[in-house]
């Protein structure tokens, strides 16, 4: 979230799309209700189903799954046409005024300039700004240091005009054809949402909330981009009650990404090195951005500190073994030579190249996509280690439905099932969607032989290190030199790990301005103290400041909120630097005065010549407004990117509507280019994709219920009694057509597999008219499987919902398309 859960209470307008917070984030949803109760805030919900979130909304629109960019693009067009945009914000805080290179082409035919059909990739050199002045001639690849701009936003190639042209095609009629939302309903929503900028008023604020309903598409990243662009256009980013707010699906999923839990980032969102980065210098040169801006503006370009963050991380990893002479052990770090994302790992296991899997805190077979492919992949693995608190589908893939005793004997995979501690049986911190690191204490000790995850990982690591030390091997140093300075190496305490992540001074570190000194061995007060000379170590720069010499900041439980804005500065600790709302410089006008005096977050203090306020300023604290430094300090431009230049995205600098990979209709915008052009199919025999021609003509979207937590609570009697059985939500009209009544069994089949469950016949999903074609959507909760209370008693269908979903992913984040694939529906 750019903002936080509590901050939602400050909003005047909510757009909830691609998420169902009432059901999946009920405690956070409290603040949406608070905004309604205390501010008369309005809530618009756009979803394929009328959810329990929709039940509390003021306007609900049923959208076809996967048509989100068309809807949001239509709202962008509406805002521009009706002059409901934040002009000053747009010109000063975004790249709307930047002029784009000649030769850049918008996707009238579905393709941006530079597409290479053979490789399904783009040459992105035209996706760049026009260089200004003398540097124009010597323009190197990369962003130009000086950019041509037009503050009147009239230049035909300025970002704003391109934006206007791009979305001029997203008329209400076009929105209706693609989304299935009737024109008048769409206009009602567009009018309501943009009403906060009626008559140029800047006081009101709107927020957008989303979850995996946006990410799980073959254009998921671009949906979120569209939302961000809309929020920049309306001047809602950086402001209390505004922002673009990702509601994360697990208590610590934010922490997992922050700590580099995906293959293409290091902790703190540093880029991973590739084989081309032959030295630390080469890596840092490639990954450290340089300023790119109009001549009379300033850009802080905070990522220019990348070398400090990266070297401190290497020092945390390798301690004394990382020094200036050996490039801070940069050569120890793995170089990522290809895509190692989730579906690729399973694909490679299926193909036989990945031989083993550690599965902790997740149920890979149930998660899918294409659970059967994952089961087939595990059959080919040599070994599988599962750390869990219940016997789950992954650790019992060999006993999945359809496998005979004879087949079972053929499976050679050795499965190690390790009993782990549950969340209440261990201490540690979790990072929530609002970026708060919150420490928790242990409630009860782990039962029986169950062990702490960190103990298991530590003991495996120490054993492997012992083997490397004894037997050598090709390259033992990256393993043998890892810092492991915990007081009990076999049982590392998480408090020690948290302190290590915060970072400490290895030599005396001096602040050049204040001459304050942090002595060697002391915890660092924050990331401003990180150095690239090896005198500091830090496991994750954005977490620096969370465990200082003053103690654990993440265990704080202060409930003071002096501003009344829900900042709660002394409750836990929010990255970065305990800042609660990101980009909060943008909450003020260019002169440094809050847009809305009743919601003052930070402001420029003329007397002290400093930015000050109730939140920690997300800005260079002494940069006066007259210097015109951009408020988005994490971009090289210093401004919000309405146009995302160069390699920022694989599939275009502006979002464009593409059809889901399996779609019942053609693309109304450009029939010749229906899908996202850079999305590739996988090619094993398991990877099958369905078409309407083969009879797959009902849209299926997966979802989660408030009564259950993923694949876990089917082991808890309380949750099971609330929703005892799997079901499939379908419209009354579809059920009538097929002669199905509520509670009867239905079979749904995709190109991959089939699934049988009881029909939940409901009026809450209506048949849709998509470009003249009648289209049905159904909803598929994913919780049940073949291990659980009901499953073990034989009361459930014993199959996994994700047997149906396709292995096809977003080209930027590699998230599978669980929302909106094609199925057949019949009476079972």
């Amino acid at each position: 979230m750019t903002n936080g859960y509590v901050d939602i209470k400050n909003t005047d307008m909510m757009l909830i799309m691609g998420g169902n917070p009432a059901e999946n984030h009920p405690c956070g949803f409290k603040w949406a209700i608070e905004a309604k109760r205390n501010r008369n805030a309005k809530m618009i919900v756009v979803d394929p189903r009328f959810t329990r979130t929709a039940a509390t909304s003021d306007l609900f629109l049923q959208i076809r799954a996967g048509a989100d960019i068309a809807f949001l693009g239509g709202v962008i067009r509406y805002a521009i046409e009706n002059n409901r945009i934040a002009k000053d914000y747009l010109a000063n805080y975004t790249n709307a005024a930047f002029i784009v290179k000649d030769g850049f082409k918008l996707p009238d035919d579905g393709l941006y300039s530079g597409f290479d059909a053979a490789t399904q990739t783009y040459d992105k050199s035209t996706w760049n700004y026009e260089a200004a002045g003398p540097s124009a001639a010597a323009a190197k690849p990369g962003l130009p240091p000086n950019v041509n701009s037009d503050l009147t936003l009239q230049h035909p190639r300025c970002v704003f005009q391109l934006l206007k042209t791009q979305y001029s095609r997203y008329t209400p009629e076009m929105v209706e054809r693609i989304t299935g939302i009737a024109k008048d309903r769409f206009l009602k929503a567009a009018d309501l949402f943009t009403s906060i900028r009626k008559d140029g008023d800047m006081k009101k604020v709107a927020t957008i909330m989303y979850a995996v309903g946006w990410t799980q598409h073959t254009f998921g990243t671009q949906i979120i981009r569209t939302a961000a662009m809309l929020q920049l256009l309306l001047g809602n980013v950086g402001r209390a009650g505004g922002g673009v707010n990702a509601l994360r699906g697990h208590s610590n999923i934010q922490g997992a990404t922050d700590m580099g839990g995906v293959f293409d980032i290091w902790p703190g969102y540093l880029k991973v090195p590739t084989p081309a980065d032959t030295s630390l210098k080469a890596y840092l040169e490639r990954t450290t951005p340089t300023v790119s801006k109009p001549a009379n503006w300033e850009s802080f370009n905070y990522w220019s500190n990348t070398p400090r963050f990266a070297v401190s991380l290497l020092k945390a990893m390798y301690g004394d073994a990382a020094n200036k002479e050996n490039d801070f052990a940069f050569h120890y770090m793995p170089k990522v030579d290809r895509n190692y994302s989730w579906t690729q790992l399973w694909d490679q296991m299926y193909r036989g190249s990945v031989k083993g899997l550690f599965a902790f805190g997740m149920n890979g077979v149930a998660i899918g996509p294409d659970s059967q492919k994952n089961i087939e992949a595990l059959k080919k693995a040599d070994w599988l280690v599962v750390g869990e608190i219940y016997p789950d589908e992954t650790s019992e893939f060999w006993n999945s439905p359809g496998i005979t005793k004879a087949e079972m004997k053929e499976i050679k995979t050795t499965v190690y099932r390790l009993a782990c501690a549950g969340f209440a049986e261990k201490d540690g911190s979790m990072t929530n969607s609002a970026r708060w690191l919150q420490w928790k204490n242990i409630a009860v000790p782990p039962p029986g032989q169950a062990r702490l995850d960190q103990d298991i990982v530590a003991q495996i690591f120490l054993k492997v290190r012992e083997l490397y030390a004894k037997e050598g091997g090709k390259f033992p140093d990256p393993i043998t030199h890892v810092t492991w300075a915990y007081s009990d190496p076999q049982h590392p305490s998480l408090a020690e790990v948290a302190k290590e992540i915060n970072g400490k001074a290895l030599g005396d570190v001096t602040d050049p301005k204040t001459q304050q000194v942090i002595k060697a061995g002391q915890q660092l007060p924050g990331f401003a103290w990180l150095r690239d000379d090896g005198t500091t170590s830090c496991g994750n720069w954005i977490y620096s400041g969370s465990w200082t010499e003053a103690g654990s900041q993440i265990a704080r439980r202060g409930t003071e909120d002096p501003s009344g804005l829900g900042v709660y500065p002394n409750w836990a600790w929010s990255w970065p630097a305990n800042r609660r709302v990101l980009y909060n410089r943008a909450s003020c006008d260019p002169e440094g005065k809050p847009w809305d005096p009743t919601r003052k977050q930070i402001w420029w203090n003329e007397k002290t010549q400093l930015w000050t306020g109730v939140d920690v300023p997300d800005f260079k604290p002494d940069s006066p407004p007259k210097d015109h430094m951009g408020p988005f300090i994490m971009t090289a431009e210093g401004v919000g990117r309405i146009f995302a230049p160069l390699a920022a995205f694989a599939d275009g600098p502006f979002p464009e509507h593409y059809e889901p990979f399996e779609s019942p209709v053609g693309n109304a915008l450009h029939p010749a280019q229906a899908n996202n052009p850079v999305v590739k199919k996988l090619s094993t025999p398991a990877d099958k994709y369905g078409t309407t021609g083969e009879g797959f003509n009902v849209i299926c979207t997966t979802y989660r219920l408030t009564e259950h937590y993923h694949y876990w609570t089917k082991n808890n009697p309380m949750n099971v009694q609330l929703i005892p059985e799997p079901f499939i939500e379908m419209p009354v009209e579809l059920a009538d057509e097929l002669g199905i009544r509520g509670g009867e069994l239905v079979k749904i089949t995709s190109a991959r597999s089939y699934y049988i469950a009881k029909a939940f016949v409901t009026k809450r999903i209506k048949p849709m008219n998509i470009d003249g074609k009648k289209v049905y959507q159904i909803g598929l909760p994913i919780h049940q499987g073949f291990r659980g209370i009901q499953e073990d008693e034989g009361k459930n269908a014993r199959t996994l919902a994700n047997r149906l979903s396709p292995t096809v992913v977003d080209p930027n984040a590699y998230t599978p398309e669980f929302k909106g694939f094609l199925v057949k529906v019949e009476k079972a």
């Binding site: 059901e23 209700i33 109760r37 509390t56 309380m718 929703i723 005892p724």
Partner: protein, 295 residues
């Protein structure tokens, strides 16, 4: 649920006044359920089970998120889900937390023939005392909300206690404590009434629900559980909430006129017998004719 520490206002099947009545004035407690902010998460259902020590029961999918049709003897709190289409065709999913309404004039208590099986405390909570319950089930006929439920094994009646055990210790009921959105409130009846009216006004003024209002039916003297409804003229849409609940006339007649007619008949009988005695004296039993000479 016996609560010796609570002052009793009324007692079922009991002659004379309740012990301690009129000694002390207590605030009426009240639960406010704002159906317009309920998200149907069922946290209150689980909290109710856990606090009251009831465990897992088998449920079956019912073509709804609601997995049982009514509350049960060991399931006192159930959210009723109702799909509802408004006149303009727009959809609503009405979610109402169903439980004992703790009527000011409780029909169950009125109907109950067992001395002390149902009590109404001074704070308004209506509570079943299973120790005194005879399992006759008359309370069911007295309740316009279909709340009291029979336990086949113990042959006793059960229902929501409004967490009388928690309330007497100064805690809010378990359901209130668990509600994540704050759609449940607990306090004095006056405060809850005011809060509810304020919310209903907001719904009318800002959210286009012209008929929004507070459900606190007069037919049972008002209730200790009140609802904010989007449309107070149509409570039936919320899973059969009666528009005008009353204690059934049978119960009223039986415990009212019939009781007095019965009493009169009984007293008349006693008077008649007495007069007969005075006039004719004790009945003389004639000696047996041929029974005297028994061996």
């Amino acid at each position: 649920m016996s609560q010796a520490t609570l002052n009793i206002r009324r007692i079922s099947g009991h002659a004379g006044t309740a012990p301690g009545a009129g000694v002390e004035r207590e605030e009426q407690v009240c639960k406010l359920v704002d159906t317009t902010t309920c998200i149907g998460c069922k946290a209150c259902e689980v909290a109710c089970l856990e606090w009251n020590g009831y465990s897992f029961r088998d449920t079956v999918f019912q073509n709804s998120y609601q997995t049982m049709p009514e509350t049960a003897w060991n399931y006192w709190n159930l959210i009723k889900f109702n799909e509802h289409e408004r006149e303009d065709g727009s959809m609503m999913l009405l979610m109402r937390k169903d439980q004992c309404m703790h009527c000011a004039e409780p029909g169950c208590l009125e109907a109950c023939p067992a001395d002390g099986a149902i009590v109404q405390y001074m704070n308004g909570i209506v509570d079943f005392q299973q120790d005194h319950c005879i399992g006759c089930g008359y309370c069911v006929s007295g309740c316009p909300f279909n709340i009291p439920k029979f336990n086949q094994h113990t042959k006793k009646m059960f229902k929501c206690t409004l967490c009388a055990d928690r309330v007497t210790e100064g805690l809010e009921p378990a359901c209130i404590k668990s509600c994540p959105t704050g759609c449940l409130h607990f306090g004095t009846k006056d405060d809850m009434k005011e809060l509810a009216e304020t919310r209903a006004r907001q719904l009318r003024d800002h959210y286009g629900f012209d008929k929004a209002g507070v459900y606190d039916p007069a037919g049972v003297g008002g209730t200790g559980v009140i609802y904010v409804l989007h449309d107070v003229t149509n409570p039936e849409a919320y899973g059969g909430l009666p528009s005008n609940p009353r204690i059934p006339w049978v119960v009223k007649f039986w415990k009212g006129p019939l009781k007095w007619i019965g009493n009169l008949a009984m007293i008349g009988g006693v008077i008649g017998v007495t007069l007969h005695y005075l006039r004719f004296g004790p009945k003389q039993v004639a000696p047996e004719k041929n029974g005297a000479e028994r061996p």
